[in-house]
Symmetry: C3
Subunit: 423 residues, 3 copies
Amino acid sequence: MTTRRQFLAGGAVLLGAALAERATAAPEIQSRDSSDTASPLFNGKAYTPVVTPNGWTLPPRLNNGVKEFHLVAEKVKREFAPGSTINCWGYNGSTPGPTIEAIEGDRVRIFVTNRLPEHTSVHWHGIRLPNGMDGVGGLTQPHIPPGKTYVYEFTLKRSGTFMYHPHSDDMVQVAMGMMGLFIVHPKNPKERPVDRDYCILLHNWDVEAGTATPKSSTMTEFNLWTFNSRAFPGTAPLLAGKGDRVRIRIGNLSMHDHPIHLHGYDVHVTGTDGGWLPKSAQIPEITINVPVGAMRAFELIADEPGDWPMHCHKLHHTMGPMGHNIPNMLGVQHDDIVHKINRLVDGAMAMGETGMAEMQEMKMALPENTLPMMSGDGPFGPLEMGGMFTLLKVRDGLARDDYRDPGWYRHPPGSQAREIDMP
Amino acid sequence: MTTRRQFLAGGAVLLGAALAERATAAPEIQSRDSSDTASPLFNGKAYTPVVTPNGWTLPPRLNNGVKEFHLVAEKVKREFAPGSTINCWGYNGSTPGPTIEAIEGDRVRIFVTNRLPEHTSVHWHGIRLPNGMDGVGGLTQPHIPPGKTYVYEFTLKRSGTFMYHPHSDDMVQVAMGMMGLFIVHPKNPKERPVDRDYCILLHNWDVEAGTATPKSSTMTEFNLWTFNSRAFPGTAPLLAGKGDRVRIRIGNLSMHDHPIHLHGYDVHVTGTDGGWLPKSAQIPEITINVPVGAMRAFELIADEPGDWPMHCHKLHHTMGPMGHNIPNMLGVQHDDIVHKINRLVDGAMAMGETGMAEMQEMKMALPENTLPMMSGDGPFGPLEMGGMFTLLKVRDGLARDDYRDPGWYRHPPGSQAREIDMP
Amino acid sequence: MTTRRQFLAGGAVLLGAALAERATAAPEIQSRDSSDTASPLFNGKAYTPVVTPNGWTLPPRLNNGVKEFHLVAEKVKREFAPGSTINCWGYNGSTPGPTIEAIEGDRVRIFVTNRLPEHTSVHWHGIRLPNGMDGVGGLTQPHIPPGKTYVYEFTLKRSGTFMYHPHSDDMVQVAMGMMGLFIVHPKNPKERPVDRDYCILLHNWDVEAGTATPKSSTMTEFNLWTFNSRAFPGTAPLLAGKGDRVRIRIGNLSMHDHPIHLHGYDVHVTGTDGGWLPKSAQIPEITINVPVGAMRAFELIADEPGDWPMHCHKLHHTMGPMGHNIPNMLGVQHDDIVHKINRLVDGAMAMGETGMAEMQEMKMALPENTLPMMSGDGPFGPLEMGGMFTLLKVRDGLARDDYRDPGWYRHPPGSQAREIDMP
């Protein structure tokens, strides 16, 4: 017996197949190589669109009720921060590729053109779909050869926080920067509403000092750690008006888990790439550990104004690439041995007897295209950070659609640590 | 005042002690060195038995109501995948040792004979028991000298997912492969029922190319990652009939946590080695991060047919041992420098200008007993995987007791990504 | 319109500011360089005070209702275990610095004097406070120059498990040992009561064999792992009376997550540095994975007497610093090649054909100030442990305020694994 429900479901599949047959004309390719944060795509009142710091959202083309996207896998150049531009692989001119944004229940058709020198494929990480659309080269489809275009088509059964990345020569292609965010908003705009919604992909890179191309077979020892393929001080801040409900979605395609620590707030994880958490399972945290190949969406009420760091708490992940493997000179009077060390460690300066802070004040000559170990200037002096570090800037009176950097926070009198005289 | 309850509890202890005194005749040793998946031990209707992919369950001997097992710690040879056999340490001919399976409330007596060249002990990881049965050499008992047999005896107070491993010269003995699963089913067969129940132990190994014995003092830089001491393409698939409730239990005795990613499904963790999770604390996930020294049991309804990868999402953990530390040649025209590199990197080929995929198509000569970096053939071409990678194969109409590999999944028309012509 | 509530809140701020202006006389500096566990600070019936194994709690000075503390950042020498004293940085003579303990609702004023050779700052990790008190050098305040004193002041809005550490030259200063615990008890003593409350900070260090100063720019390859800057057998045990409710709070400022495994019990995580978990979200565990930059408080009922190990389950984290990178000699007859190896690996002995256990029985000459790889003596022989390893000693009849080490546990007859004769 065929029920009406089964009939309709079957009909939907047939209809989808028919549409796919006709859909041989891919949308025009849209490309962007800037690392400025793009304004969110405004979509009427259907949902609060996501903002991808230092990234952008790919506008869809509507075709008979199907949202069509066109991804192009290709080589891209990415400025990680002023002074360091890296030779990456990505999509549509950028790494991460453009964020794909759609609504629960949408049918999407995604064209993937391969302009890489080797075959590729796209896996839709976290999205429930028919096995043949899973994007595993060799297993569920042939790898997409260079120069060819494949088309994927499926219905978004559930809202959530997802990713896309290759499933061909995985380690090399992901190591080179091939990854993107895939955000599905709930069909009901009153479900899980937030005032601001940010999404970030974590990554690691192994780029030798003085060079510009990542080593793609490194397993654990990386030297560059990025939010959306940007390193501090190149990372865009996240903004919020006082009282805003803020969601931050973070995915990890690096080789290490990253404990993302937010100052000033405790937050609750409300979603993973598997779906949304029931209220009963939510716990308060200030450091969200994002495992490899996983995503975490967490929420907070921005009730405390200020400039609040958000960074990985593995402290070498908030450093730039220079300066590791330096002999420890703490406590050593080295006036007369600096020259000897400089001869041993080519091009490096000895770390002083007083720690590393003095290094950033020295005029240390950096290798070409290489960021310093500690960097950034704040309102009260050097920030001494790098890599996976940015700021959540919470301000009174910031409008919901205002994404302009408001500058440094000014502390009210009496609310700031201060020097005192000691007898 | 002694209550009836206390009296009975005390009596049970005396009875156990008396039984132990008599139990000096250990059961006959059962041994198995095959890496084929053994059929589950069928135990009437008491529970759904576990299947240990590439492993087996140790049959108990019943002795006056006590389930007796005999483990033998010894050197074993293990084929990790065709072409690579490693010199390990394990139990009863295999690594992992045989799975021990029992029922909540059972009293078990486990004989451990040491045929290793050094002393050992067995810790029953996660099981609540008297301190003297905890198996910590030097602390709760003497280490078991070579050639000697010790006997452990305790009552299984709770159902759950546990392990056994040595607590003597821990780092060396575990690094060599000494570990096993210990599954305790609920007393009530209607509690937590599933149709299929799989259990897997994760491990890492450091075996230099061209050799067969793991280095046992490596701390973090391993080159072989295994499910039940097998590496893809040597890993057995997990099977499920459409609609089956499937439990997968994964324990980790390696040196890194492993984010186990399952395609096609979202799952809920329902148990750890500490017990079962209340429904209110369960969250949806597609990547289960299994910490070191921990176990996770997760469940899903197999409602979507297909061949679904299950793998560690640290991408170098789905690679074979060869090929790391290769200079990155992406984008380099190297027709004339291959010979120079081959002289520098003994026996290796230069990675081409087009990524790593071309390597598996070349006839690269591998060192003896060493798996390639990327391997495996699928229905649509090379799979380019290794290490911690297997498939969950979900099929319509598969009987619950059918564990025969059904071959590759055939996608229905219109449900598969396909090539299109671009103008 | 100003409500009474706003008026009072504003008044409190003004009052606090006024107090701060007057508070230029810092409390006398209290210092301690012992690694004995200090008795807890008894505070009447307001709360069960924490015990910091191998550490101490900083007594506050009451000043017009404000609890004042004085931290001094300075160089310290720390004995990690007998035979190994390390040149660290810390607070008030010790690493970790003294535990700060206060009550929800308390106003605290913390003076920080910098006696280091470089600038520093103190971040109050997890505590909700005004942005200007967040302690991020360069961002929310100037770095504190050497020789200067800064004062922080804020109200403790919530109870919980927090930390303090520098936010200036972070990687170096934390790597050298600058860290401390900050415990805030609930205002209501009936909320979350426990009988014993322990707190521990995890850390890693890279100290080359034969030296005494950590390398401060190491990223991942450390060789010393500590509980409160002590390594086994230097770690103090945790004590509990049978039936006691025990809370253990663990924070991690190392570069790796640490899966802390407790034998004999399953526990529930009840708190993080973000707050307390609702009952509905608590899950049973025996291995608590503590991410970097995070804290976990977990609880258990000590109902099973014995000596129960608590250790990191990454097995190289329960080893001392010596012995890695040794060639694996398992199965090799090496009577005649020991001399050759000794010439290659300076000062090391070849690991025998029988594993590592034989090494600790040999009279292996250790480099000066360096702990052996495996160490410790138990009631039944060598323990073969090091690093992050201690014992929870549960005894019948131990009084709540008794913290004297009760010695080794004696197993009742019939409750201990024992040797049997095999025919």
